[in-house]
C-alpha cells in the first residue's frame, strides 16, 4: 500500500515496535544471515572477558534492519530511494526497540514524487539508538 502525496502532511508520524525483548539468538541469527560473526555480537565469553563489555550486543546493522522493517511497512515495498543513519548507542539483549518516522518534506527524484522522512529508533528507556533519514517514492 503506497503512500499518496494528497494524504501526507509534514509532521505525520508512524511508529512501530520492531523488536520486543531482543534475544541473543536473534543476534546470532543476524550474524548468520549477514555474515558478520564478530564475537562482540555472538560470543558472550569474548565480549565480556576479552572486550570488557557487559554482554554481547546487537550489530548496528541489525538495528538498522529492524528499523527498515518499520519503514517498508510504512512506505510500501520497493518504494525506498534512500535510507541511512547513525548508530547512536548500543542495543543489548532484552532491549525493546520502537522505530518512528516523521514526514519532514517532499521532493522529486527522477521525476517521481517523494517523501522525506526523519527516522529515529529508541529503546525501552527512551534512549536513541539509531537516527537517520529516508526518502521514498509516493503516489501523486
Amino acid at each position: 500500500m503506497a503512500l499518496s502525496r494528497t494524504q501526507l502532511t509534514v509532521g505525520d508520524t508512524h511508529e512501530q515496535v520492531v523488536v520486543d525483548g531482543l534475544t541473543r539468538t536473534q543476534i546470532v541469527q543476524y550474524a548468520g544471515a549477514s555474515g558478520d560473526y564478530n564475537p562482540l555480537h555472538t560470543d558472550e565469553v569474548f565480549a565480556t572477558q576479552v572486550a570488557g563489555y557487559p554482554s554481547v550486543f546487537a550489530h548496528g546493522m541489525l538495528t538498522m534492519g529492524l528499523t527498515g522493517h518499520m519503514l517498508t511497512d510504512y512506505v510500501g515495498d520497493g518504494r525506498l530511494v534512500e535510507y541511512g543513519g547513525r548508530f547512536m548507542a548500543q542495543v543489548w539483549p532484552g532491549d525493546t526497540l520502537t522505530a518512528r518516522s516523521e514526514v519532514t518534506g517532499f521532493d522529486t527524484r527522477n521525476g517521481s514524487d517523494c517523501v522525506e522522512l526523519a527516522v529515529r529508533t529508541v529503546n525501552q528507556s527512551g534512549d536513541e539508538v539509531f537516527r537517520g533519514t529516508a526518502v521514498a517514492r509516493i503516489d501523486p
Binding site: 548468520g32 555474515g35 558478520d36 560473526y37 560470543d43 569474548f46 538498522m64 534492519g65 520497493g78
Partner: protein
C-alpha cells in the same frame, strides 16, 4: 565489502528477513509478490550488507584453517588489526558508526551482484569519554549482472583505543 560475485539467492533473502524480524511475504513468497506493485520477490533494504558472505577477505568470519579470535578453550584474543576496506562494521574496538544506502532499484533473487569498495573521507574527533575517535568512510557500489548500478552504500567505521560505550 568487496565481492566479485554476490549471487542473491532466495534462501539467503529469507534468512535475512527472518533475522530482522520482518514477516513481509514480499521477501519469500513469489506467488504473493506477483500480486504486488513490485511484481517479484525482493530483498530487504539492508540486505546488501550480506555481501560480507562473498568477500573472501572479510575479517569477521571464521576461516577454515585459520585461528579465530573468539572464545574456545580460552576466552579468545584481542582481534587482529583491521585492514583493507569495509562498509562500516569493525573488529575489536572498531565499530560501525553510520550506514547510508541509495537504491537505484531493489535487489531480487537471481541477481548476481558485484561489490566494489573505495575509501572515502577519514577524520578524527575527541570522544565524549576521552580518547580520540578515528572515523573512516567507505563507499561500495553494487552492480548487477548487466553492469547497472543497483545500490550505492556509504559506511562509516569508527575506531578508538578504549571500549566504546555507545559513543
Amino acid at each position: 565489502m568487496a565481492a566479485e560475485r554476490f549471487p542473491v539467492e532466495s534462501g539467503h533473502v529469507m534468512m535475512f528477513a527472518r533475522a530482522i524480524g520482518d514477516p513481509n511475504p514480499i521477501y519469500v513468497d513469489p506467488d504473493y509478490a506477483a500480486t504486488t506493485e513490485v511484481g517479484h520477490v525482493i530483498a530487504p533494504p539492508t540486505f546488501v550488507q550480506a555481501s560480507a558472505q562473498f568477500d573472501p577477505d572479510y575479517p569477521l568470519r571464521p576461516k577454515i584453517g585459520e585461528r579465530w579470535f573468539g572464545s574456545g578453550s580460552s576466552a579468545g584474543a584481542a582481534p587482529p588489526a583491521r585492514s583493507g576496506s569495509g562498509s562500516g562494521g569493525g573488529s575489536g574496538t572498531g565499530l560501525h558508526a553510520e550506514q547510508h544506502y541509495e537504491y537505484h532499484r531493489h535487489v531480487r533473487p537471481g541477481d548476481v551482484l558485484s561489490a566494489v569498495t573505495r575509501e572515502g573521507r577519514s577524520w578524527e574527533r575527541e570522544g565524549r569519554r576521552g580518547g580520540t575517535l578515528s572515523f573512516r568512510e567507505s563507499i561500495t557500489e553494487y552492480r548487477d549482472q548487466n553492469g547497472e548500478l543497483v545500490v550505492t552504500a556509504r559506511g562509516v567505521g569508527v575506531r578508538t583505543s578504549r571500549t566504546v560505550e555507545g559513543d
